[in-house]
């Protein structure tokens, strides 16, 4: 449904997006994840046709957002980054306006507005001016406006920014309901959010795609060697000498917990496999009592941090 091929966009000397390629199938929920300034919004703007790419091409439902601009725009429901809405308009008339812009015929317009209001639980706020709404409700109005014409593709730039935790949970539940009916591409700089919502994550950093896959696949990506924690009844020095001998342990860091117990953090070498057995055996050989031997869960957070690390070869991203 969404294809990006070598999308590149420069603003003067800064290359905001450099050769981004991905493909999103119909009905998928995909999250663009990356720190602020990673090129997510610029990429999204190229997909919606708001910004022409410097090079490369985008395709929505097989159509080019610049050459077949109208056809693409009528297929997309778009929530822009800061959710710009005329503050002086009432919720209902704003949604009616957006429905008209998107070519919902007059006979179906009221029905479409009513449905969007229901789907986004905005019924009590129908007659309220957007400028008077809380941030959470405002965001819902933006969502309602993005889906009022029942688009094939929903593109949401930071749909949960500025919401409180309850609202985030609510929005997440709501977005999950949208799956199947729409292809959903959303962006966020908050990891936990995309992780919980999206079946697939595309990690952005410095204008490039750094990883693309399921949250599980990304967290287990090569380069994230296993990490282990051990607590044993011995001194830090003895623990260290026992564990550094284990094959596959790249680094060992020890500390005293109290007079009797010491703790060690072990990072495995790449491709070392599960080290728990050999770690346990090493301590058994020393004859020390063991009270904890734990493999750290591969965490998306660590994978993310590693993926977006500064890229020394290139200039910084655009603001």
């Amino acid at each position: 449904m969404i294809h990006a091929t070598e999308l590149t966009r420069t603003f003067g000397p800064t290359r905001a997006v450099r050769g981004v390629s991905f493909e999103i199938g119909a009905g998928e929920i995909v999250g663009l994840l990356g720190p602020n300034g990673a090129g997510k919004t610029t990429t999204i703007r190229m997909l919606t046709g708001y910004l022409p790419p410097t090079s490369g091409r985008a395709r929505i439902d097989g159509l080019d957002p610049i050459d077949d601009s109208h056809a693409v725009r009528s297929r997309i429901g778009y929530l822009a980054e800061s959710n710009p809405i005329y503050p002086e308009m009432r919720v209902e008339s704003y949604l009616r306006f957006r429905a008209t812009l998107h070519g919902v015929p007059r006979a179906r317009r009221e029905g479409a507005v009513g449905e969007a209001i229901e789907r986004c639980s905005l019924r009590e706020m129908r007659r309220v001016r957007v400028g008077r709404l809380s941030k959470g409700y405002r965001q819902r109005v933006g969502l309602a406006a993005a889906l009022v014409h029942d688009p094939k593709v929903l593109i949401l730039d930071e749909p949960t920014s500025g919401l409180d935790p309850t609202q985030i949970v609510e929005t997440r539940r709501f977005l999950r309901e949208l799956a199947g009916r729409h292809t959903l591409l959303l962006s966020s700089h908050i990891l936990s959010e995309v992780e919980k919502l999206c079946g697939r994550i595309i990690v952005f950093a410095h204008g490039q795609v750094r990883a693309d896959g399921t949250p599980r696949a990304i967290s287990a990506a090569p380069g994230d060697a296993g990490a282990y924690t051990v607590e044993a009844a011995t001194t830090p020095e003895r623990l260290d000498s026992a564990l550094t001998r284990v094959r596959g342990a790249a680094s060992v860091r020890t500390e005293a917990v109290d007079a009797r117990w010491s703790r060690a953090h072990i990072v495995a070498e790449d491709g070392a496999g599960d080290l728990r057995e050999s770690l346990g055996a090493a301590l058994a050989g020393e004859g020390v009592a063991l009270r904890e031997l734990r493999r750290e869960e591969a965490s998306l957070e660590r994978a993310f941090a590693r993926l977006v690390e500064a890229d020394p070869a290139e200039e910084g991203p655009t603001p």
């Binding site: 919606t48 046709g49 708001y50 910004l51 022409p52 610049i66 601009s69 109208h70 056809a71 725009r73 009528s74 997309i76 778009y78 822009a80 980054e81 800061s82 710009p84 809405i85 005329y86 002086e88 308009m89 306006f97 957006r98 008209t100 812009l101 998107h102 070519g103 007059r106 406006a145």
Partner: protein, 238 residues
């Protein structure tokens, strides 16, 4: 087409949702009302709206930029242009819709002044020819000025810059075609005079509806709106 009218109507309505619409209308009616009652409603004055049209033409030079300054600048500043430009609406429909919203507001601002004509009717026997042509002229000048303003509004995201740009352009046009024409003298003054809004408007005030004047204002307005469209389109290839 539906989208164009939706944009025009939204624009028109928003003037009244915000204080700016009411402020502009109130100031205009207060000034023109004062001139009408002090200048025209006097013993011995003819039952014409000559004063009113003269003053209004001059006031439009300030009012039109105040109406047009927000049309596209505000959208750009607030980012509300992004949903518009990603909706299946052509740049033409967007800019022309905005412009028509401004024109409708201008019409709404002029409508209450028909009370002056009614007042004249109650007191005397006014000649309706010049009054009708005067209104037509005022509307045409408004279309021309708002066209200029739409272009400036499309060029900047700053409303003040859009206002001042339009105002300076209109002042320059006025000075160049009146004082400037007098300064350069024959044979160039005739050429400059053809560009003069005031000279053309003066004919309307006298009851003369010259097709050339009508074409000048409409074509001029359309030309500047077109430049506005180009300015908006240019965002897509910049």
């Amino acid at each position: 087409m539906t989208a164009l009218w939706a944009i025009a109507w939204r624009e028109f309505a928003s003037f009244f949702r915000l204080s700016i619409g009411w402020v502009v209308i109130a100031l205009y009616l207060a000034l023109s009302g004062a001139v009408f009652s002090l200048g025209t409603l006097r013993a011995g004055e003819p039952a014409s709206m000559r004063w009113f049209f003269g003053l209004s033409t001059w006031l439009l030079m300030f009012i039109a930029p105040a109406i047009s300054m927000r049309l596209l600048s505000e959208e750009t500043r607030n980012g509300t242009i992004e949903p518009l430009m990603t909706a299946p609406v052509s740049d033409w429909a967007l800019v022309v819709g905005k412009f028509l919203g401004g024109v409708c507001f201008l019409a709404a601002m002029l409508a209450p002044t028909l009370a002056y004509a009614v007042t004249l009717e109650a007191l005397s026997e006014p000649d309706y020819g010049p009054i009708a042509s005067g209104y037509a002229g005022l509307a045409l000048v408004g279309v021309f000025y708002l066209g200029v303003g739409t272009m400036f509004s499309a060029l900047t995201s700053n409303q003040i810059v859009a206002f001042l740009g339009t105002l300076f352009f209109l002042l320059l046009l006025r000075f160049a075609t009146l004082q400037g024409a007098a300064f350069v003298g024959a044979p160039y003054d005739g050429w400059l005079h053809t560009l003069s809004v005031d000279l053309r408007m003066a004919d309307f005030g006298k009851g003369v509806v010259d097709t050339a004047h009508v074409v000048y204002f409409l074509a001029g307005g359309a030309w500047f709106v077109t430049l506005g469209v180009v300015a908006v389109e240019s965002r897509r290839w910049r």
